[in-house]
């Protein structure tokens, strides 16, 4: 059976006045049915752009300049807008970061849900409403009939994100791309939404790409992790493997900068320096200027190589020792 999603050498570029910013440069990924992948990186690492590229929603001046995105064997880049429109919301759905902003403030919830149903299914308004109602129940919204009549501003942030999730689930998609959907929420709501998403995806066999900068959030959720830096994947592997034994110095730095309970009163560890501008990327390994292990061997950019089974790393000096016990996040 083909993989659900295969991305080969994706190039997404933004043409700006100062030159071409390669937001995603040569990214390759694959995803099985029902799998949960955590796409981790700092702001500007290209993780959100990757999500938008899959859905064909990169706004000008950005565009997908090269590569192939195979969804269930069908090339989305070659298929263009027409093929994409059939999939959007139907087989691939997306959830955004800020639940305050994703629902149209002047349209009622029922309008926004019914239009989604009717965009892909030729059903009456009544049938569409019934499906919307069921979806709200599934994400744990009480008195759904009343809620359907309400406007977005009458919901709390967590409720709004639930509505957005319900909209994403309306057509039981094969893949949901979640772009930091819990970042704007309270920690308690965050945990609820996380576990609910996990349960819903397991129930319906939906695959999930969870885009986040927060390793702590994704480590409890994802089957696999892909760590992005400057538009590339620099490390990819199983969640447990990466968390316990990060091989790329950047991944190690990310994990070590998560605060631990045992380190009261000490300074948080951080990765020195800042993410480079996409317009002025260094030659060779993009992380080398910030990397404690960098030397002359880092000058030609290292390829993403399989170092262990199921573990790909883009580094010539990978760490091979597991993290000390107390440093691993729980």
């Amino acid at each position: 059976m083909t993989k659900l999603l295969e991305i080969h050498d994706l190039q997404t570029q933004f043409h700006t006045r100062d030159g071409i910013a390669k937001a995603v440069d040569g990214l390759s990924l694959s995803l099985d049915r029902g799998e949960i992948l955590g796409l981790v990186g700092e702001s500007g690492s290209g993780k959100s752009v990757t999500g938008f590229s899959i859905l064909g929603l990169v706004d000008p001046p950005g565009r997908v300049a090269g590569g192939r995105i195979l969804f269930d064997g069908e090339d989305l880049v070659a298929g263009g807008e027409k093929a994409m429109k059939k999939l959007r919301g139907k087989r691939i759905a997306m959830i955004f970061q800020d639940p305050m902003m994703t629902l149209n403030p002047v349209l009622r919830i029922d309008t926004q849900m019914v239009e989604t149903v009717q965009a892909h299914a030729d059903v009456s308004r009544k049938a569409a409403l019934a499906r919307a109602r069921d979806a709200l129940v599934r994400v744990g919204i009480s008195s759904p009939d009343e809620r359907l009549q309400a406007y977005p501003h009458q919901f709390s942030g967590g409720m709004r994100q639930r509505v957005a999730i319900a909209i994403a689930l309306l057509h039981e998609p094969d893949l949901i791309i979640a772009d930091e959907p819990t970042t704007a929420l309270d920690v308690t709501i965050q945990a609820q939404i996380l576990s609910e998403m996990q349960a819903l995806c397991a129930q319906s066999g939906t695959a999930l790409i969870w885009i986040t900068h927060d390793l702590a959030v994704v480590s409890g959720l994802a089957d696999r992790l892909a760590v992005m830096y400057a538009g590339r994947i620099i490390e990819e592997g199983t969640t447990a493997g990466i968390i316990s034994k990060p091989m790329h110095p950047y991944t190690k730095g990310l994990i070590e900068s998560v605060p631990q309970g045992k380190e009261h009163g000490t300074l948080l560890r951080q990765i020195k320096g800042m993410t480079p501008s996409l317009l002025k990327l260094p030659e060779g390994c993009k992380f080398a200027p910030r990397c404690p292990r960098a030397d002359a061997a880092c000058k030609p950019e290292p390829p993403l190589e399989e170092r262990e089974t199921g573990r790909r790393v883009r580094c010539v000096h990978p760490h091979t020792e597991p993290l000390a016990e107390e440093a691993a996040p729980t």
Partner: protein
């Protein structure tokens, strides 16, 4: 909603009352109408008699009291010049101005919003830039000059349309209107375009700016991610959001179009209220000036009231937050 409406209505009444005081005092201050109205060779006794007949010999507060009392009974006084009730004189002219303003409004919204949205969706296209360039001309060229140019091109050079007047009118809902006959319509087109150009340019710029802003919102991207057609995204998700500021502007501008169509009416010899006001000011015909100003205030306040109601229908957050307060 009811509470909101009642409170909003109270505000309207207050503004009208405040305006009544200002208008009366303002008009009272601009000279003695007797000097203009009466034969310069009249005797002192005749002047005194006329002054008494017009009620101008009483103190200011008494005149104001009488004015308010009569105004509440729908009587804004008789014109010094025509000797008929000022309100009747204005109402005779009102339909012509209203008709002109409404046709201009329909033109400016009907063309302005689509053009503005188009320019907002494709800000860098040739069409988008042309629309924006045209709108700059629209509101930077003086209104009277636009009118004269329209007459020059369409009435004089091409001879397609008449240069002035109202043309053939018919009865419609008890008013004389032009737009139902072909002749009337041909007289209506040029002044309506003249009056609409400025507002249209304003609406184009407003619609464009708002479209560009709304397009960047996550809910537009989310709507596209849901698989909606581009048409539905623009016509429902974007349009409903940009209509909120547009309706506000329309409300404000409709009032000013009705009230101050003076320039257009003068250029095109359109027999509306604007022309009447200019004549009355020249003759110091106080009741007509006062009645005109009061009627204008009433129209603007009413339009604003209606706009606020529409506004709360368009944006669910407004009416409801008012209700709680």
């Amino acid at each position: 909603m009811i509470v909101y409406l009642i409170r909003r209505f109270g505000q309207s009444v207050l503004s009208i009352a405040a305006m009544a005081v200002l208008v009366f005092l303002g008009v009272y201050a601009i000279g003695n109408p007797i000097d203009v109205l009466i034969n310069p060779e009249a005797t002192q006794a005749e002047i005194a008699a006329t002054t008494a007949r017009l009620g101008l010999d009483r103190p200011l507060y008494e005149q104001f009291g009488i004015f308010v009392w009569n105004a509440l009974h729908g009587d804004l006084g008789n014109s010094f010049v025509y000797g008929r009730p000022a309100v009747d004189i204005i109402l005779d002219r009102l339909p012509a101005t209203m008709e002109l303003a409404f046709v201009a409004l329909i033109l400016s919204v009907g063309l302005g919003v689509p053009l503005g949205v188009w320019a907002g969706l494709r800000p860098d296209s040739i069409a988008g830039r042309t629309i924006m360039g045209g709108s700059i001309l629209g509101f930077s060229l003086p209104n009277f000059w636009q009118g004269m140019l329209l007459i020059l091109i369409f009435a004089v050079l091409l001879g397609w349309l008449p240069a002035g007047g109202r043309g053939e009118t018919t009865e419609f809902l008890g008013m004389r209107v032009s737009f139902l006959t072909l002749d009337g319509l041909s007289h209506l087109i040029l002044p309506a375009i003249n009056l609409a150009l400025f507002k249209m340019s304003l609406i184009i710029r407003l619609a464009r700016a708002n479209t560009r802003e709304v397009c960047l919102q996550d809910y537009v991207k989310f709507a596209r991610a849901k698989g909606l057609s581009g048409r539905r995204v623009v016509l429902v998700h974007i349009l409903k959001n940009i209509m909120i500021p547009v309706v506000t502007i329309i409300g404000l501008e409709l009032g000013s179009m009705v009230a101050f169509a003076i320039v257009t009416e003068t250029v095109f010899a359109w027999p509306g209220m604007g022309k009447l006001l200019i004549d009355s000011i020249n003759l110091l015909d106080r009741p007509v000036i006062v009645a005109y100003l009061m009627l204008t205030v009433l129209i603007i306040v009413t339009i604003n009231f209606v706009v606020d109601v529409i506004y709360s229908l368009l944006d669910p957050r407004i009416g409801l937050s008012e209700m709680k307060g």
